[in-house]
Symmetry: C2
Amino acid sequence: MRKISTLLAVVLYTVTLTAQNEKIQIRNIFDQALKSDVAYNQLKWLCENTAGRICGSPEAATAVEYMRQEMLKMNLDTVYLQSCMVKNWKRGEPEKAYILSKKMGRIEVPVSALGLSIGTGNDGLGAKIVEVSSFKELELLGKNKIEGKIVFFNKPMDPILINTFSAYGGAAGLRTGGAAEAAKYGAIGVVVRSLTLASDDHPHTGVMQYQNGIKKIPAIMISTKAADLLSSYIGQENDLGFYFRTTCQTLPDVPSNNVIGEIRGSKYPDKIITIGGHLDAWDTGQGAHDDGGGCVQSIEVLRLFTELGIKPNFTIRAVMFMDEEVAQRGGQKYAELADQNQENHVMAIELDRGVLVPRAVAFSSLDQNNTNHQKIAELFKPYNINIVKGGGGVDIGPLKQYYPSIIFGDLVTDDQRYFDFHHSENDRFEQVNKRELQLGAATIASFIYLMDHLGVE
Amino acid sequence: MRKISTLLAVVLYTVTLTAQNEKIQIRNIFDQALKSDVAYNQLKWLCENTAGRICGSPEAATAVEYMRQEMLKMNLDTVYLQSCMVKNWKRGEPEKAYILSKKMGRIEVPVSALGLSIGTGNDGLGAKIVEVSSFKELELLGKNKIEGKIVFFNKPMDPILINTFSAYGGAAGLRTGGAAEAAKYGAIGVVVRSLTLASDDHPHTGVMQYQNGIKKIPAIMISTKAADLLSSYIGQENDLGFYFRTTCQTLPDVPSNNVIGEIRGSKYPDKIITIGGHLDAWDTGQGAHDDGGGCVQSIEVLRLFTELGIKPNFTIRAVMFMDEEVAQRGGQKYAELADQNQENHVMAIELDRGVLVPRAVAFSSLDQNNTNHQKIAELFKPYNINIVKGGGGVDIGPLKQYYPSIIFGDLVTDDQRYFDFHHSENDRFEQVNKRELQLGAATIASFIYLMDHLGVE
C-alpha cells in the first residue's frame, strides 16, 4: 500500500511539475515577446521599404529577400525559397473618376481599380450611372435599364453584425462578381462601394473575377464617403453621369517565391507544423496589417523558440506565402510540393486577421472533453485568450486535399478596426500597435508550444 | 396533475418569453447604437471645440454648457447642473527643457509640467541630474548625493504585465509622490519618465501631490524617448546637467459644475442608478479617450433608452463629473449632495478606461450562483462580453461612505493601447474608433437595462 501511494505521489508530483513547467514556459514566451522590438522593427522595415508589394512587383521581390535574410540571422535549421509563378497585374497610372452632374458640374471622387480588372483605355469611360445594392436588383432592372451604363453597386457592410468579417463576407460578392454580373445586362463598367465600416475618403481595393464567356468590363472601388455622395446625387438628378479612367492591365505570369524557415523537430522531424502569413500586399498601402504583421509574427514564433531554447518535438516551419491577394498561387504551390516531396503535415496555422489584440486561438480539432485542450484553455486564461473551434485560411487551405486529417489553426484577433485599414492606403505601419503585435506572436507561439508539447491532437 | 402541468407550461412559457424579450431588447440596443453617429459626433464636437478642458478653464465651462444642451434636446425627465468649487491649476507658458552636456551641448527634450506643480520661476532651474528608479534608490543615495540636484525618476511601466493598468499602477507613485520624496533629500526639481508603454516623443502629464511640511519643488514629465536619451547621457557623462523652465501655478479655486440628466424610474423613481464619466480632461490633449468618450457614452445610454422606448423601473442618471483629474471635487460633491438630499443610490457605474473595445462588464455584487447574473452572462455571449467581479472608480467612489451597500460597476475595455494616449497630446478624436465607442455604449446600456429589469442585485 505504501509503495502504491509513493508511486501515486511521484506520478502526481510529475504531473503537477509538468503543468507548472508549461505555465512557466508560456510566461517565458510572453515575457520574451513583450520585451522585444525585433518583430515590430521588421514590420517597420517591411512597411517603409517594400510598400506596394503586390505579387510580381519589385517590392515583393525585395520583401522576399529581406525576410530570407532576417531568417538567416536566426540560426534556424534551414531557410529556403520555394519558387512559384504568380499573377502580374499592374495598376498603371493613378485612377481618375468624376461624378458628372448637370447642376453641379464635374466632381472628382477617390477611386481605386480592382485587382485583375482591365483598364478603361486612354480615353476613360463615361456613361449614365445606375445604382443597385444587389444582383437581385440588377436582375429586376434588366438589360433595358442597364445596357450601355455604368453600374454602381452600393451595399454598405452591415454595421449591426458584431463580427466584422461576417459584415465583409456579406458585401464582398459585389466586388468579386459585380463586373461579370453587370456585363450580363450590357453594363460597360462598374463602381463598387468600398468594403469598410468607416466613413472616410480612402478607396479600398481587392481582387475581382471575370466569368468565361462574359465580356470583361472595367471595375473600380469608390470610398465610402464618395459612395454616399454619389448616391445622394443619383437620388436628386435623373440620368447622372459618371466617368472614370484606369490603365491597369494583367501581364503574363512571373516567377516569385514563398519564403520558408524551420526548426527541425527533435522527436518527429518528419511531422510538420506550419505557421504562416502572406508576404504580398495590395499596392495601395504598406500591407502592415494585411499581412506584413502575420509574416513577422510567424518568424517571431521561431525566434521565441530559439531564444528560449525550446526544442520542439515536431518540425516548426514559418512560411511567408506569395500571391494571396490575387490568385493564391503561393499557397497552392506549397501544398503541391508538400505532396510531391511526401512531407507529413500535421497542423497548419494562418495569421491573416490583422495585427490586432488577440482574443482567441481557433483550431479545428478542438474537443471540449479533451483534457489537453482543457489544459490549454486553462493555461491561456491569465492572458485573456479563449480557445474556440475554427481555423484555416486561403493559403493553408490547399493542404487539406493532400492531408485530410490536418489540424487547422487561426489567431482570432479583435476585428472591430480591421476594415478601417484593409486593402486601403490606410494599412500603414503607424496603424499597428506594438503590444498588440507582441501579444499575437506570444499567443500563437504559446499555442504551438503547447500543441507540440502535448502531442498535436 | 393536468392542472399542475398546465400551470408549469404557462410558467415555463412566460420564463422563456421573458428571456426571449430580453434577448431581443439587447439586440435592439446594440443595433440602435451601431447604426448611430450621435455619440461619435458629440465626441467630435467636444474634442474640436473644448480641447484642453482642465477644470477651471473656459474650455471646461464650454463643455459643461454643450453637454447640458445636448441632454436638453433628448427629452429627458430632468437636466441640471450641480455646482462645485474646483482646483484651478494653470500650465502657463510652454515648458522648455534641455539636457546640458559638456560633450554635446544643449539638447532640447519634450516635457510637460505635472498638474499642481509649482513653476520654476522665470529663470528656470538648472542643476546636475541624478537618475533613480525608485524611492528606495533615492534613500540609498541620501542627502549627500541628492542635495541641490534635479532627480530623474526613470522607471518604465512593466511591459510584461498583461493588464496595462497594473503596469501604470506600478509606476505612477513616482509621478504623484516623486517631488515630495526627492525634496526630503534636498533635491531642487524632479523629472519623471512618462507613463506609457509606447516609445515616443509625447510627454504625458498627470497630477502630483506635495506633502505638508516638505518643500515644494517643480516637477515635470519627460517623453519616453527623451527619458531613454537622458539616461544614456547620464550613463556616459559624469555630472550631466539639466535645465527646465515652467511657469505653472495654482490659482484660487473657482466654481464649476457636474452636468446631470435623468430618466425617472417608473416603479422606483427614488432609487437611482448612476452612469458617468468625467468631463474635465488634461489640457495637453483633446480628452477623447480620457474621458470625453465616457461622457458621451453615458448620455448615449439615456438616448438609447429613449429612442427604444425603454421605460426603466429605477431612475437612470447620467453624470458628467468635473475635476476628476486634479482633485476629484465633482465626485465628492455628488456624493455629499446625494446624502444631503436623502437620495437612495443603488448602483453607480463609471466609464473611465478609454473608448476601446469592451471586453467585460465588472460589477461588485457579481455572484456566480445568482441566476440573474448567470442570465446576464448568457445574454452577453453573442457580443463577446464577459461579466467579472469588480467595479468602481474615483468619481463614484465617495458614494460608498453614504451608501455602504451600493453596487459599483465598470466597463472593462481592452487596455493594450490606452496608455499610448493617456494624459498626452496624443489623446485626440482621431484615436477613437467609432465602432469601439458604439459597442461600449451598447454594452453598458444593455447591462443597465438588464440590472434594472431584473431588479438590481
